[in-house]
């Protein structure tokens, strides 16, 4: 199967009542290489949005097979170090800080933080690595069941997920937080990656085929409507939302 031919699309929405510029997740993917990533900047601290963007974009640009090695968390944390080296919140591509210098300095001392999931579709497999509560959902066409990774139940989501810091001084505490996923990716399978609010809702309906059917064909408008409905009915918390989807077109199955 040529997984590099997978169709990929991402949807995102800021918190209700906030402008698009305040969306603090990051998402990146490449159909050609099969690499993808979703990151969610922590709400407190400055530059978390920029850190989430840097993590996602650097992961996809680097294509570091080392980062996906599932024999050790250190390989992934070594890659995070390379992302840190490229992290520049004062880059012209980001909004200019309007904070007083002392606030900026205090924020810099605390560092920026984000949860992360990144992976690759290739050689008939999906591989992923995660820290925190960004999740991957793998719909297996053959069995009709869905695998959730790294969290699979609503009760596992809380307000204190494990985070990747822009400062490297606490990486030694993250060794047990790095999770790996690897599974065959068969024709007809679909893979989603989502930041925590949407992922939490998905774990509630993980056994509902209608949810996955709807999401497999959802477009921008449909996604926006769905999120608004979930927020209004309080079935999903009002948070930034990101959903990435990969699937193999019918013609590639043959």
């Amino acid at each position: 199967m040529h997984t590099q031919m997978a169709e990929m699309v991402a949807y995102w929405l800021p918190k209700d009542g906030t402008p698009a510029a305040e969306w603090e997740d990051g998402v990146a993917y490449s159909r050609q290489s099969g690499w993808f990533a979703v990151a969610d900047g922590a709400s407190t601290g400055n530059s978390s949005r920029e850190w989430a963007y840097t993590l996602a974009s650097t992961f996809v640009a680097d294509r570091s097979a080392q980062a996906l090695h599932d024999d050790s968390s250190q390989s992934f944390l070594d890659w995070v170090d390379t992302a840190r080296a490229r992290f520049d919140p004062k880059s012209p591509e980001f909004p200019v800080s309007r904070m007083p210098e002392w606030v900026q300095a205090a924020g810099d001392r605390m560092g920026a933080h984000a949860t992360f999931i990144g992976g690759r579709l290739d050689d008939g497999h999906v591989r992923a690595v995660a820290v925190g509560d960004c999740c991957l959902f793998h719909l297996h066409a053959a069995s009709g069941r869905t695998t959730a990774f790294p969290l699979s139940e609503p009760g596992q989501f809380n307000s204190n997920p494990r985070l990747l810091s822009s400062l490297g001084d606490r990486d030694h505490q993250l060794a047990d937080a790095v999770r790996h996923y690897r599974a065959p990716f068969a024709p007809g399978d679909v893979v989603f990656a989502a930041s925590d609010a949407f992922a939490e809702w998905l774990t509630k309906g993980i056994d509902d085929p209608d949810v996955w059917k709807a999401l497999s064909g959802i477009g921008n408008k449909g996604f926006r409507r769905l999120c608004q409905d979930l927020r209004m009915s309080r079935r999903m918390k009002n948070d930034d939302v990101t959903l990435w989807r990969a699937s193999v077109p019918e013609r590639s199955k043959r």
Binding site: G17, E22, N46, R49, P95, S97, M99, V103, A106, M110
Partner: protein, 271 residues
């Protein structure tokens, strides 16, 4: 009740009433530092923490309106510089306009950091607590009228002694009647001790309080909200059901702890 999340459309309000009477120049909790020094330090630290809680993206968001009233020789707002004379200030303006910056070395490191200062120690005159509570009411009622759906205002009164301008209990009861749709104003009291005495923290009954003055402060104090109770329990503080936001004979550590617990709202969202 007491569950409205804080966001820019529903900001919170924190008003500190700080005793600036002459007795505040006495030592605090048996230590060399004066009560006035420790109070100014704790208030500056609290405001700094509030500002840092409000940094999002490239800005400080106005999740709180903050005020500091002093009572001693005079009664009134104590912010200075560009904020002089202002009663309640959006937290982004607090961030922009400290009185000055001081340099401190971070404990256990050789790293120097610039820390903002908004108030300086002051100790002069009597203890016109009743007038301060009265002024607080006139400020807060206006705020509540403009922020009807916000988390209720929090007023923290920090003093080392008796009111010298009459019994403050009835005016405090009136203050606590100010409300938003999310509940009544929360009034908390902390009594600072000159000597190193055993503090009485968050009592839920006046039974063990040592004198009528302490009982009066207990009666003036609101109960902690469920969220504050959870925060206090998370800090291993002794809070039972119905615990009031009141500490008697506090030392410097208890002062900082109290300001941390008493200014916690249910949730600050990112909007």
């Amino acid at each position: 009740m007491y569950s409205q999340p804080i966001d820019r459309l529903h900001p919170g309000c924190i008003l500190l009433l700080v005793d600036q009477s002459a007795s505040m120049q006495e030592s605090f909790g048996g230590r060399a530092q004066t009560k006035a020094d420790a109070l100014a330090q704790a208030v500056n630290r609290l405001i700094r923490n509030l500002v840092l809680q409000c940094q999002r993206g490239e800005e400080v968001r106005d999740y709180y309106h903050v005020g500091i009233l002093g009572y001693g020789k005079t009664v009134g707002p104590v912010l200075g510089g560009s904020l002089a004379g202002q009663h309640l200030v959006p937290v982004s303006l607090m961030a922009d306009y400290p009185l000055r910056m001081t340099t401190e070395v971070l404990p256990g490191t050789d790293v120097s950091v610039e820390l903002p200062v908004w108030i300086d120690p002051k100790a002069d005159g009597g203890t016109p607590m009743t007038a301060a509570i009265d002024l607080a009411g006139s400020i807060i009622v206006e705020w509540a009228n403009h922020n009807l759906d916000s988390f209720p205002p929090i007023v923290v009164n920090i003093s080392d002694g008796f009111a010298t301008d009459g019994d403050p209990r009835s005016i405090a009861a009136q203050l606590r009647q100010i409300r938003t749709s999310d509940g009544n104003l929360l009034l908390f009291n902390i009594n600072l001790s000159t000597e190193a005495l055993t503090p009485i923290e968050y009592p839920n009954s006046p039974v063990h309080l040592p004198n009528p003055y302490a009982v009066g402060l207990f009666e003036m104090s609101s109960e902690l909200t469920p969220f504050m109770m959870a925060v206090a329990r998370g800090m291993d503080l002794p809070v039972g059901n119905g615990a009031r936001g009141f500490v008697f004979n506090a030392d410097p550590a208890k002062l900082s702890e109290f300001l941390d617990v008493g200014t916690r709202v249910s949730q600050v969202t990112d909007r």
